[in-house]
């Protein structure tokens, strides 16, 4: 079997202790929460940290507080199973619960955390391979090399941001709390990401994502549609999160459409959103918005299924997500 490289496992009991350990160890240390993303990558030698700072024994990271009326705070250490099943979350933000429940398998959701899913490493099927495989094909710039194998001649890495929950968080208008040696800062969740397959997070390596703050529900209608080959295991190869507000007469007063797994960060389809505002969400309006939403998507051939298929599915999935959120009948849920 594939073995983990040797590393020191540090299990701080408090957030302060964890922050101090990260500061002390510097770039030799990495953060691990559930480990469902990091450990397989370590086995394949994408990472060989000298030390891991585990967040599993820190009680401060496991809270879910608030209400639909006031907004919720979710500790980054809350498992994906909990996010998908807690009535408080599932009732207030059904798309978030659905997205968390669509991650991988039950076993991995029991280990994996919401913080981990927001920070999940970008993926590319030239990168998520063993050391032997990558050595055979030639190392890429994300690990060990200086070229991009999916877009030759590219200056940047095109690994795909593959979180299910992040597009929903962006659509919901969530913010995240980061704590490091320089103190604590709160940023909108979209500001956590950068469209770069390697440096895909703005979070500093010594910062810990401690909690997610969700705004009050306030009539927000949400949906998340995920494209993948199978009903389990698979990362999204397209994710569409939508959040809408409708006036009593059905006029759309607020709309956010966020695509996942089409680039190295979540992509908000602002042009498409503009087509919805002030409109009643008829099939025609939704269709036009869906076509516009798909335009900024620039998938490359580095995930499952072909890029033309993923591109073609973007408007289809967007339309279905919008229809679901708008309460239009006739489309089954993903």
């Amino acid at each position: 079997m594939l073995r983990l490289p040797p590393f020191e496992f540090l299990a701080p009991r408090s957030l302060a202790e964890a922050v101090a350990l990260l500061a002390e160890r510097g770039s030799a240390a990495m953060i691990v929460a559930g480990g469902t993303d990091l450990y397989p990558n370590m086995k394949r030698r994408q990472f060989e940290p000298a030390a891991l700072v585990s967040l599993r024994s820190i009680p401060e990271l496991r809270h879910v507080e608030g209400t639909a009326q006031t907004g919720l705070t979710i500790g980054s250490g809350v498992t994906l199973t909990q996010v998908s099943q807690q009535p408080l979350i599932a009732n207030a933000y059904p798309a978030l619960a659905h997205a968390a429940g669509a991650v991988s398998t039950a076993q991995l959701r029991n280990m994996g955390t919401i913080g981990g899913n927001l920070c999940v490493d970008t993926r590319c099927n030239y990168y998520n391979q063993t050391y032997h495989w990558r050595k055979s094909i030639g190392f890429c710039m994300k690990k060990g090399g200086d070229v991009c194998l999916v877009a030759s001649g590219s200056e940047r890495c095109w690994a795909v941001f593959s979180s299910d929950t992040a597009p929903v968080m962006v659509a919901l208008g969530a913010s995240v709390c980061l704590e490091g040696p320089q103190g604590k800062r709160v940023i909108p969740v979209e500001a956590l990401y950068r469209d770069d397959g390697i440096a895909y997070l703005t979070k500093q390596p010594d910062e810990i994502l401690t909690e997610i703050r969700l705004p009050p529900v306030d009539g927000l209608r949400t949906a998340y549609w995920k494209l993948r080959r199978r009903g389990a295991f698979d990362f999204p190869i397209l994710g569409v999160a939508v959040a809408l507000k409708l006036a009593e007469d059905g006029t759309c007063t607020a709309a956010r459409i966020v695509l996942g797994a089409v680039e190295s960060s979540p992509v908000e389809a602002q042009a498409a959103e503009a087509l919805l505002i002030g409109q009643k969400l008829t099939r025609e309006v939704i269709e036009a918005a869906a076509q516009a939403a798909a335009r900024p998507a620039r998938p490359l051939d580095n995930t499952d299924m072909s890029l033309s298929y993923r591109k073609r599915m973007a408007p289809v999935y967007t339309a279905r997500a919008l229809a679901q959120a708008a309460g239009l009948n006739g489309d089954q849920a993903a």
Binding site: M1, N128, H132, S136, G231, D304, Y309, M313
Partner: protein, 793 residues
């Protein structure tokens, strides 16, 4: 009174409790004192000469005990005697990315893995061939210097009867091309082996293998030590499906390292290495031309297959013949021609996977029949049902048909699924498809030529009533060990608690050829009955003495021997055993099974004959989303003629497993390569369906006992896979009117075909043509006298 006590009962497997409690020791669970761990270094190039391998640094790494390369294992071997093209580690050149070229034994796996990185390999890159077309259009050095010519491993051409006359008598002739993508077995258990070479110069290898006897023979050859000094123990296998039927480099390397170091050496493949070990389904490009009369009866068929074999011969010659052998055993075909070609490519070697070489042509045949039925205005049911082979007949290519309950299979599946009410009548997007299949109940001939028994069973009775049963068969999860227990217990009339089983150990057990070709229940079952009957005769004789009754008045059931007319007059089983032992000495009996001579009088007749064929009919209902191309399988109905269900629970499990595997191949499984190496060698990225993609499967077990089978049983392990892919393809056509003549049927292909349809073009996705290959002049074969005749009009 019921006919049987144990046969036909839905009993748990004899090893079920140990399996579900985790007590069963698989190969990787084994551990011996002073054991070392081995790792393999895979080739980094698809095709490269190994100019130099420097192991100095690796050998010097603390914790490393030995390093070997191809130079240490020069002997060529191969599972088929005429394809001796493998060595334990690649010697002259690496033939695919991942081809093992060196092995390290160290105190732990981490050290062995580190040592691999210290091995310096100097490669000379050679032109690589990744497809059938590239292999045929050979630009440089061929992959092997063996085989028929260049990269062509095997060329076959056989002609039975007069296909030309058949086509000229047809009312309708059509030809189609099909492609069936390669896929792999994906057993949950990764291959593992433990080798121990003791001071008395004896080698023991524990290995997760389906074929301990073939491993015994070949390991002895590869290492140059006599079979008498080699012992193979097949550990319980956590999934085989044909992927553990060869001797593999990791087994040879572990054995060689154990011999060099004098310490036990264990090796467990990584999942990626399992993908490279492969021996899975061949990608096959097919062309089939069929002539039919207005009533749908076939007048002639011409089948051409092109197999992408990967880097070695493995079972490939048999695979090639299998792509042309079983077309004839379902529907009457009076004239038939088969051309087959297998090429070497720089990919992991293909070999036998569940259905070995037959699911690909079955897909082509059953989809083409659907097209023919539509063209002639016939129902897909009738075109099949009216022209089934007859029982106790022969096919044009000399295969002997004994029982065939395909009529009943079709009738039951059509009824259960409501096929006639649904076909062509469901709403757009929904559809139902039908297909049939057939498979061997054991290959009629062994892998290497001999006229010895294919299996033997030994039974030893203990004075306490224990029944010790010995057989070389390897249980790969299908339940063959349980079948052995049921069979012996049934004949001797004892409960399963009397039976002790020793299996798959070449020192202790008589030879069985292995768990492949769906042969074990049929062949081992017959041998077990024979052995048990011999002992039963002695026990009845002893009891007859004790009861002062004639033997003919007695029966053995329920742990005692009793008078059929007066059950109060009885002797407990163990007392009969003691009496018989007093009369005859130790009570040991052997049973063996050798299939009847079934091969026809022509070269190439060795592949296809079987003592009996199983039959299946399958209906698949789907829901196709025309916007996304996604296929949701709503339900599958399958009827399988297994002769007799020794244990209906296990038969149902095998049928469901076959359906699941067939569905995976039909929908998504794919060995794909990019930049000359495997694109997705992991269980996450190689897409195989989960329970969520698996629909309700309604299984109908059809029992029409075959006179040659044990209690009338035929196979159930492989046949049920065969009709699933074509039934799915036919269902997709029924749903949205597009033909996907290519497996897997992915959403992308469905959308592409729908686009073509919208543009008014042929609504089909599939291969455009076949390579321009001149096949040799066919071997002409006079049809068997019992074969369907081409009636003059």
């Amino acid at each position: 009174m019921e006919e049987f006590d144990i046969i036909g009962q839905p009993l748990p497997k004899v090893d079920a409790v140990n399996k579900v409690t985790g007590a069963t020791p698989f190969a990787d669970d084994l551990s011996l004192p002073r054991m070392l761990y081995a790792k393999l270094l895979g080739c980094h190039h698809p095709h490269a000469r190994l100019k130099a391998i420097d192991t100095t640094q690796a050998t010097a790494l603390p914790g490393v005990v030995a390093v070997i390369t191809g130079a240490d294992l020069p002997v060529k071997y191969g599972i088929i005697p005429s394809s001796q093209d493998e060595t334990g580690l690649a010697g002259d050149k690496g033939r695919f990315v991942g081809d093992p070229i060196a092995a390290v034994a160290a105190v732990d796996e981490e050290t062995a893995e580190r040592a691999l990185e210290l091995i310096q390999v100097e490669y000379e890159a050679l032109p690589a061939y990744l497809s059938i077309e590239e292999a045929l259009d050979q630009k440089g050095e061929p992959i092997h210097d063996s085989g028929d010519q260049g990269n062509i491993h095997k060329l076959v051409s056989l002609e039975y009867g007069d296909p030309q006359a058949g086509f000229s008598q047809a009312d309708y002739v059509r030809d189609d091309t099909f492609f069936y993508q390669g896929n792999t077995h994906l057993p949950i258990e990764q291959h593992a082996a433990l080798a121990h070479y003791t001071a008395d110069s004896r080698l023991t290898l524990w290995s997760s293998t389906q074929t301990p006897h073939y491993v015994h023979r070949l390991l002895s050859k590869a290492l140059g030590i006599p079979m008498s000094r080699v012992r193979i123990i097949a550990t319980p296998v956590g999934g085989g499906f044909g992927g553990k039927c060869d001797l593999f480099g990791h087994e040879i390397a572990a054995a060689k390292l154990a011999m060099i170091t004098g310490r036990p050496v264990k090796i467990t493949l990584t999942r990626e290495e399992v993908f490279y070990t492969h021996r899975g389904r061949h990608p096959v490009l097919m062309w089939v031309k069929t002539g039919v009369r207005q009533d749908g009866s076939i007048t002639a068929m011409h089948f051409k297959t092109f197999l992408d074999g990967g880097a070695h011969g493995s079972y490939g010659i048999a695979s090639t013949y299998y792509t042309g052998a079983l077309q004839t055993v379902t529907y009457k075909i009076p004239a038939y021609k088969f051309d087959g070609l297998r090429v070497f490519t720089n990919k992991p070697p293909c070999g036998p996977k569940r259905g070995h070489g037959t699911p690909q042509p079955r897909f082509a045949l059953e989809v083409q029949l659907d097209k023919i039925a539509e063209a002639l205005g016939l129902s897909p049911v009738d075109i099949r049902r009216r022209h089934l082979v007859e029982e106790n007949s022969h096919t044009v290519n000399h295969l002997r048909i004994t029982t065939c309950a395909l009529d009943e299979c079709l009738d039951k599946v059509v009824k259960a699924s409501g096929f006639r009410e649904k076909h062509r009548q469901l709403a757009y997007g929904r559809g139902i498809g039908l297909a049939c299949g057939s498979y061997l109940s054991g290959a009629g001939l062994p892998i290497y030529w001999n006229d010895l028994p294919h299996t033997s069973v030994q039974i030893k009775l203990d004075r306490g009533g224990g029944v010790a049963v010995y057989c070389g068969q390897a249980d790969i999860g299908q339940g063959s060990t349980s079948v052995l227990a049921y069979t012996v217990a049934e004949v001797l009339g004892v409960g399963l608690d009397h039976i002790q089983l020793t299996v798959a150990d070449t020192d202790l057990t008589p030879i069985d050829l292995g768990s492949y070709s769906s042969r074990v229940t049929f062949m081992m079952g017959n041998a077990a009955i024979q052995a048990a009957e011999k002992l039963k005769a002695l026990l009845l004789e002893a009891a007859a003495d004790m009861l002062e009754l004639p033997v003919g008045a007695l029966a053995a059931r329920g742990g005692r021997i009793f008078c059929v007319d007066d059950e109060r007059r009885s002797v407990p089983f163990e007392q009969a055993v003691q009496r018989a032992e007093a009369q005859h000495g130790a009570l040991v009996a052997m049973g063996s099974y050798t299939p009847p001579k079934l091969a026809g009088p022509f070269k190439g007749s060795g592949v296809g004959p079987s003592p009996a064929y199983s039959y299946s009919a399958c209906a698949v209902e789907v829901n196709v989303d025309p916007q996304t191309g996604e296929i949701k399988v709503e339900k599958i109905w399958i009827a399988h003629d297994c002769g007799r269900a020794i244990n209906p629970l296990l038969v149902e499990g095998q049928i469901e497993g076959g359906v699941y595997m067939g569905l995976g191949e039909a929908l998504m499984e794919e060995q794909s390569f990019r930049r000359q190496q495997h694109k997705s060698p992991s269980m996450l990225d190689y897409k195989s369906p989960t329970t969520l993609e698996t629909p309700e499967i309604e299984t109908l077990i059809i029992e029409r006992p075959d006179p040659g089978g044990p209690f009338g049983a035929k196979e159930a392990g492989q046949g049920p896979l065969l009709p699933v892919p074509p039934a799915l393809a036919n269902a997709v056509y029924d749903a949205v009117g597009v033909r996907i003549d290519e497996i897997p049927i992915t959403p992308e292909k469905v959308l592409k075909a729908l686009d073509l349809k919208r543009q008014g073009k042929a609504a089909r996705v599939g291969p455009k043509g076949i390579p321009n290959v001149t096949f040799p002049k066919p071997v002409w074969v006079e049809p068997h006298s019992g074969a369907p005749k081409l009636e003059a009009e």
